[in-house]
Point group: C2
Chain length 242, copies 2
Amino acid sequence: MSPRYANVSEREQEPPSLAISTVIFALRPDPDTGNLTLWLPMVRRIRQPYLDLWALPGGPLRPTESLQDAAARNLQETTALAPRYLEQLYAFGGPDRSPSPRVVSIVYWALVQPDEAALARQDENVAWFRADRVGTLAFDHNQIVEYALWRLRNKLEYGTVAYAFLGSTFTLAQVRDVYEAVLGRALDPANFRRQLQSSVHIEPTDEYLQGGRHRPPRLYRYTGPDPREDSFPSQRRQTTEH
Amino acid sequence: MSPRYANVSEREQEPPSLAISTVIFALRPDPDTGNLTLWLPMVRRIRQPYLDLWALPGGPLRPTESLQDAAARNLQETTALAPRYLEQLYAFGGPDRSPSPRVVSIVYWALVQPDEAALARQDENVAWFRADRVGTLAFDHNQIVEYALWRLRNKLEYGTVAYAFLGSTFTLAQVRDVYEAVLGRALDPANFRRQLQSSVHIEPTDEYLQGGRHRPPRLYRYTGPDPREDSFPSQRRQTTEH
DNA sequence: TCAGTTAGAGTCAGGCTGACCCTTACTAAA
DNA sequence: TTTAGTAAGGGTCAGCCTGACTCTAACTGA
């Protein structure tokens, strides 16, 4: 983008440039099966290298914003969404991950609610892909998506992350849907219910979700710590469970 | 270090510079009590800002080395140690964490064995501190150390990290010592033994540690995956336990 | 009114946990 | 040589959590 030096040996003296990228996860019903599945938005490369391939949303860090702010801005600019959950994922900086000038990318991951995701911008250069079918991406972005998926699955087990996908009240079956979509396997409804109810982080309301086809399920409310507290800095981590 | 621009508004246009820092943990006996405790080396600042304060070992990223290589080089240069366990911790990049030019630091953490640590360099400008008594450090390094400690304690529970502190064979009591030093509390020897023995990652040898004052304990060998596999990229994570 | 489906409560056996006890095997002091 | 002390390492037991499974309640749509 700004090759200040003409030849290679000089260019190698140039400090690596810094970029922020964001892996944005949302749950949406699969258009074929109707099951909830994990999706993420990609932007099309409109310049070399990797022209026309899909890539993670990202861009440079502005002088006065924090890393987290830059990631939030990415999210906003590509999908018009405000982040509900945003956490640093990893810094990628191998010398050969980008062809021309060396780029170190600090990658964040975000979770958004399904109804938000439905509103998200989508045009010729922004498209949503099922997390397990992203195809070949630009740079090392396939690796990055893999790693983000792994982290998401791991974090689920800690307990509080799932609620970032949900609204202020929700049924236990909706929570189960989140877990099943992320983990990719079915869970026993009765046992799952028991586990959630024994958790401190959840509280029944007096309301029921009407309008379904069957017995109306009770609505619950999340009362635990802000899921974002899982991100740095947090010496407050609960270790009650395990 | 290299203020290419004279006034502030121009300087703000300059991209942030990138640095690699390393939090190096080692277990050493406390000189007072003799108990194993966590220690880490610091280097003295020999220039402004924070002249004469202690800081984490670190430095710039060289053009052809990976982030991980740069961290390994840090470790080598400050303590003359080769890394047995080295993993990325977090990227710190708030706009105000360093007074003059903005610096984004990608921080790694390392674990070294006690016998290695005993050999480590130590001079007027490199000193070891107990992890819970580092005093006031330069920049945001107190925060970073706190976070590294939290991560270490968390990782312990995953199972494989403890062996990075130990040699190729060890007694179960030595493993317990590692856990007690890191977690800062006593563990029941019998229950701890049972848990370790039921773990797949450990294998008894035919040897016993002679020369102690009491019944000679059996030596064990670690047979699990390389603890470094915990770091990126790793889709191979075992989720058998929990 | 009934068939179908989900919500939600409950049961039970097996595995893991912490607390605790006891024997074994060694050293050091008497 | 004996004895006291201590760590190694085997074991027991009650309580909790887990997965597999069953049963009833409550609703909708035909």
